[in-house]
């Protein structure tokens, strides 16, 4: 991200916008003009070269090739490389049509046109729980930035490690529990990840081979490479979502209502807690920690201070089963915190969250998130010289 270009151009544009909009944008960060303009510069170059080629050749095949290049490049920029398109997707598609992770992908793609403030003090990145806990605080404090990807797990942290390094906060905050480490990796969302280096692909194939088999792991890696090259493949969910919206699928097939059969908030929370407990098991913990450790190695090498907060869930989600897993995960995290010298803040440092502190089975409401944040920030602010 070209930050210096962002600042001066951003101030100029902000001065032209109505005050309410410019104030909102200011809270989020600075407009990233590099992301906005760069694709169009590339288009301009392609157009110029193409027009020159068209002018100087009568070869039918070559002219066809040039037209294809022009059309494809233009379509790609219009569909994927401009904020207006992502705003359009944001306002026409919801999680009900495309899925939770996909909806957060749209949000984050829209966010890339706004750079986080420079010299960012805190970055919290994680699942929708992270969003629920920190959104309110992040909106009010410019030095606190939050990125959420629904269902984000240790594999996703590894895949998004470059994004964290790019933002380069002073402190990275993760909100993790046994529910993050004790569930199977979700390979379907790997194609949404940003571009990965070859060494990361190699690691992924190596580590996922035991779990999925070598050919499946390689197949996944190839899918990720294809997704890098062809955004129309990567963002298939946009077009399928728009198609389903056009065909009124969710109204006709009542698929939204099938997601949760319960209607009352309490029953819905119970149902969500049941799903949580069903997905929880011991088997993936080792694999998730191995991947998580690779994430630590990448991020901690960039002089980013890490703080891991032991996550809390709805009281109904705590059973004998997950207490055992909680102990395993906590113990492993303690070990890593000693090894890599990061701060691990366990739940005993926080007020216990009750069922009324949750909006549903997973996500703290305002009261619950305030309890966490009001405890966490003073710990972070008071521990500038923290030693594990």
């Amino acid at each position: 991200m070209n930050s210096s270009l962002s600042i001066s151009s951003s101030d100029l544009l902000l001065s032209l916008l109505p005050h309410s909009i410019s104030e909102k944008l200011n809270q989020l960060g600075t407009l990233n003009f590099y992301e906005i303009i760069f694709p169009w510069v590339i288009i301009l170059i392609i157009f110029s070269v193409s027009l020159y080629a068209l002018k100087n050749t009568k070869n039918k095949l070559l002219r066809l090739g040039v037209f294809i290049v022009i059309f494809y490049s233009l379509t790609r920029v219009i569909l994927f490389e401009n904020p207006a398109a992502w705003m359009g997707y944001r306002y026409s598609l919801t999680w009900k049509e495309i899925g939770f992770r996909e909806a957060t992908i749209i949000d984050q793609n829209l966010r890339r046109y706004i750079s986080p403030p420079q010299n960012l003090k805190y970055l919290a990145i994680g699942s929708s729980q992270t969003g629920a806990v920190f959104s309110d605080y992040a909106q009010k404090h410019r030095d606190f930035y939050k990125i959420e990807y629904s269902g984000m797990g240790p594999l996703d942290y590894y895949l998004y490690s470059e994004l964290v390094k790019q933002i380069k906060p002073k402190t990275l905050i993760l909100f993790l529990s046994e529910f993050d480490f004790g569930r199977d990796i979700v390979k379907e969302t790997m194609v949404f990840a940003p571009h990965q280096s070859l060494s990361k692909h190699y690691f992924l194939i190596d580590i996922l081979s035991n779990e999925l088999g070598t050919s499946s792991a390689i197949h996944l890696s190839i899918k990720m490479l294809l997704a890098d090259l062809f955004p129309e493949y990567k963002y298939q969910f946009l077009f399928k979502g728009l198609r389903d919206k056009l065909l009124n699928k969710h109204f006709l097939l009542k698929t939204q209502e099938q997601a949760f059969s319960s209607h009352s908030a309490q029953d819905k929370a119970t149902e969500q807690v049941d799903i949580l407990l069903r997905t929880l098991n011991k088997k993936p913990i080792d694999l998730n920690f191995r991947i998580y450790e690779q994430f630590l190695l990448r991020v901690l090498n960039s002089d980013i201070k890490l703080v891991v907060v032991e996550g809390q869930y709805h009281p109904g989600a705590y059973s004998v089963k997950n207490k055992k897993l909680k102990a395993i995960v906590s113990s492993k995290m303690q070990e890593l915190s000693r090894k890599y010298k990061f701060q691990y803040i366990t739940t005993d440092k926080f007020p216990i969250l009750l069922s009324e502190d949750f909006a549903d089975g997973y996500h703290p409401n305002k009261i619950g998130s305030d309890k966490i944040v009001n405890t966490l920030i003073p710990i972070l602010d008071g521990n500038a010289q923290f030693k594990p």
Partner: protein, 214 residues
């Protein structure tokens, strides 16, 4: 590269009768069946009844060729019966000459398409139970236009519209390469639309190509 392949499918969904269907569908198989079964059995040289018998046996064996399942046998029998039925009523179709030729042609295409699709139901059924259920739902009232039906029809139209346009272009130009005869800008539009349709709406799961089983 010097390899010349025969045309194997020649707009079979645009035919007006079952005999024409088998001249245009899976041509390599149908010509083999004609040359090595139908003609060997006597073809149409032994009178009407023997001709019907030969047609029936050829189609029955053609059904068996697809696999050792009763549904394939029934499908072969069905194909044989509709050919025989057509051969029987063909001389009696002169009454239809009161209708304009083009209207008659398009009506025949539509009617024949229904018979073809009925055949595909038999062909694709997993077993007799499924076959029975499908036929019962087709031929018993009430015909509810449920939300599910609306969605499926909409889904099919959405995904096949472009392919149908291409098929019509090919049919009008009497060539499977009809699209390549269009002006360059239309070719470009079609190819790019096809590319985006496949890559942005395609399903890339592990589904075996149906013809691998044949």
């Amino acid at each position: 590269m010097g390899i010349k392949l025969m045309t194997n499918f020649l707009f079979p969904y645009f035919v007006t009768n079952p005999q024409a269907f088998w001249k245009n569908w899976h041509i390599s198989l149908s010509t083999w069946l004609r040359d090595y079964l139908y003609i060997s059995l006597g073809g149409n040289r032994g009178g009407v009844r023997k001709t019907y018998r030969n047609v029936f046996l050829t189609m029955l064996i053609g059904g068996l060729w697809h696999g050792a399942a009763w549904t394939f046998v029934i499908w072969g029998v069905y194909q044989g019966l509709i050919i025989i039925a057509y051969m029987f009523i063909k001389p009696k179709l002169h009454f239809a000459s009161v209708l304009p030729v083009k209207l008659m042609k398009y009506l025949s295409i539509v009617v024949m398409f229904q018979f073809t699709c009925l055949g595909w139901l038999i062909f694709r059924a997993n077993d007799f139970t499924q076959l029975r259920e499908m036929f019962l739902s087709l031929f018993t009232l009430p015909y509810d236009v449920t939300n599910f039906v609306l969605y499926v029809v909409g889904y099919l139209i959405f995904h096949t519209a472009l392919l149908i346009v291409i098929q019509i272009i090919q049919y009008k130009r009497c060539s499977n390469l009809g699209v390549l005869q269009l002006p360059l800008r239309f070719q470009l539009l079609i190819f790019i639309a096809m590319y985006f349709s496949i890559i942005s709406l395609g399903e890339f799961g592990e589904q075996q190509f149906i013809y691998f089983q044949f």
